[in-house]
């Protein structure tokens, strides 16, 4: 197995998950806390990577990061090099591609919190920020963990966006899924099998972790308590 690709994949997944949680927490809270056209639009944009071929997202990002567009030129000036075919470019692509996997569990979690708890805390003088961190987040911790695990595993398994945006540069953009593609191209099926098995094992372990989470196991009982 290509250990360099494994290390790169894990670094990419960890960084993507961290950035995604920072973006997804406020975004999911905003989506869950009201109705309206702006929120519906935001939800649609967030969900877009679920229904689009990854190559479409990769193609647009490739164009957007290149010297043909104003944002691309700005990014080139900021980083000193084009972001396409670099780790940073891959990171941006991964964040956008895995966005729905981070946001949607959180939206569902936030929507399931009974507003009675929020009012109880506010009626005791707690500010909205304190209510969020001391009441809402603890009540939705299983959604937060699900969101993190899904974002991580989805990034580990992505292929189309990486290929379009990152190419296949060892140590910079060659992830495990790209390495697997290369091995099959070279007819090295034994090594391809080991890489594929590693990816299957990793995904399986992550899903077992999600379903073993105490919050998820008890969620049916708790929802009855939470939903008014």
């Amino acid at each position: 197995m290509d250990l360099e690709a494994l290390w790169l994949t894990l670094r990419l997944a960890a960084a993507t998950t961290l950035i995604l949680l920072l973006i997804a927490l406020p975004l999911a809270w905003w989506i869950a806390s009201g109705r309206g056209v702006a929120r519906a639009l935001a939800q649609a944009v967030v969900a877009l990577p679920l229904v689009l071929p990854p190559t479409v997202l990769g193609f647009y990002l490739l164009i957007a990061m290149g010297p043909l567009t104003a944002p691309g030129r700005l990014l080139i000036r900021m980083f000193g090099h084009p972001l396409a075919f670099s780790f940073e470019g891959l990171l941006i692509g991964s964040v956008l591609y895995s966005l729905p996997f981070a946001v949607q569990p959180l939206v569902a979690g936030f929507e399931s919190v009974d507003s009675g708890y929020i009012e109880a805390a506010a009626g005791l003088g707690a500010s909205p920020a304190r209510v969020f961190f001391s009441v809402i987040l603890p009540l939705t911790r299983s959604s937060l963990l699900t969101s993190a695990v899904l974002a991580f595993t989805h990034t580990v398994g992505e292929f189309g966006v990486v290929l379009m945006l990152g190419g296949n540069i060892p140590g910079a953009t060659r992830t495990l899924s790209i390495s697997l593609y290369d091995l099959v191209e070279d007819s090295n099926y034994a090594a391809a099998n080991r890489t594929a098995l590693a990816l299957v094992g990793f995904a399986m372990a992550a899903l077992i972790v999600i379903y073993l989470l105490p919050g998820v196991r008890r969620s049916r009982g708790r929802q009855a308590d939470l939903v008014r």
Partner: protein, 248 residues
């Protein structure tokens, strides 16, 4: 008679009910009395800041601090109002112990050391000894209700200013057995009077209103019918109840 604690005038449509309510609170404990669906909880929620009435002006305290004035587009958010509240349905934070629930509102506005003695006194006042380290999920419905009211009382008592906030209690002891309810009401009235915490509570229990000896605002179909001492405002209800008891 004391200073004006709160002035309220409110118009609001909720479901099929068209509310038009106005009153002043001047007594240490006032009871909103009325049948289910008469708009009592809506009034409490408007004061607490949990609902935005169609039209309202609510001021509180001796300097008439505005909580909401829809005409002038003033709306003070719930957590900034000098008001502490406990809803009819106990919403104890399930991830915290009873003791943590009780101290939740005591730390919001002050970094000072937690007044531990105060917590112990409140635990004793509400007869919660032995439950303090339990999780809310392990409590009965009545115990949860007591913790919910005790939590709001703790928050109001520990309010970090000389002038204490208005305490809103929605059906605080509904569902408790009569003996325990009587004991708690007597103790609570004394405690809150000692700490000078004014109260507006909601009930439809006649006995509770008489036991408190409070000022009563009788409300029906979204309108204030009468306001005054309990012996005057609820005299008719009392007479009817006595008659029923005699017939039985």
């Amino acid at each position: 008679m004391s200073d004006n604690l709160l002035s309220l005038s409110l118009r609001h449509r909720v479901g099929g009910l068209s509310m038009e309510v106005a009153f002043d609170l001047t007594h240490p404990w006032t009871v909103l009395f009325g049948p289910s669906g008469s708009g009592k909880t809506t009034v409490l929620r408007a004061i607490a800041g949990f609902l935005r009435p169609d039209e309202a002006r609510i001021t509180c305290g001796p300097d008439d601090t505005v909580l909401i004035d829809t005409q002038k587009r003033i709306l003070i958010p719930a957590h900034r109002r000098p008001v502490r509240s406990a809803a009819q349905s106990a919403r104890l934070f399930p991830h915290q112990s009873v003791r943590q629930n009780l101290t939740y509102g005591m730390t919001s506005n002050t970094k000072a050391d937690q007044p531990l003695e105060l917590v112990e006194e409140i635990i004793s006042l509400f007869q919660l000894e032995g439950l303090a380290d339990r999780e809310p999920g392990a409590l009965s419905g009545g115990e949860r209700q007591r913790v919910s009211v005790a939590r709001a009382v703790a928050a109001a008592t520990a309010y970090p200013r000389v002038s204490k906030p208005l305490l809103l209690l929605d059906e605080p002891f509904t569902g408790l057995d009569a003996r325990l309810r009587d004991e708690l009401l007597d103790g609570l009235r004394e405690w809150l009077a000692g700490w000078k915490v004014p109260v507006l509570s909601v009930t439809h229990a006649l006995g509770e209103a008489f036991q408190l000896g409070a000022e009563v605002i009788k409300i029906a179909e979204g309108r204030v019918v009468q306001q005054g001492p309990v012996t005057m405002v609820l005299a008719e209800e009392r007479r009817r109840l006595m008659e029923q008891l005699r017939l039985e």
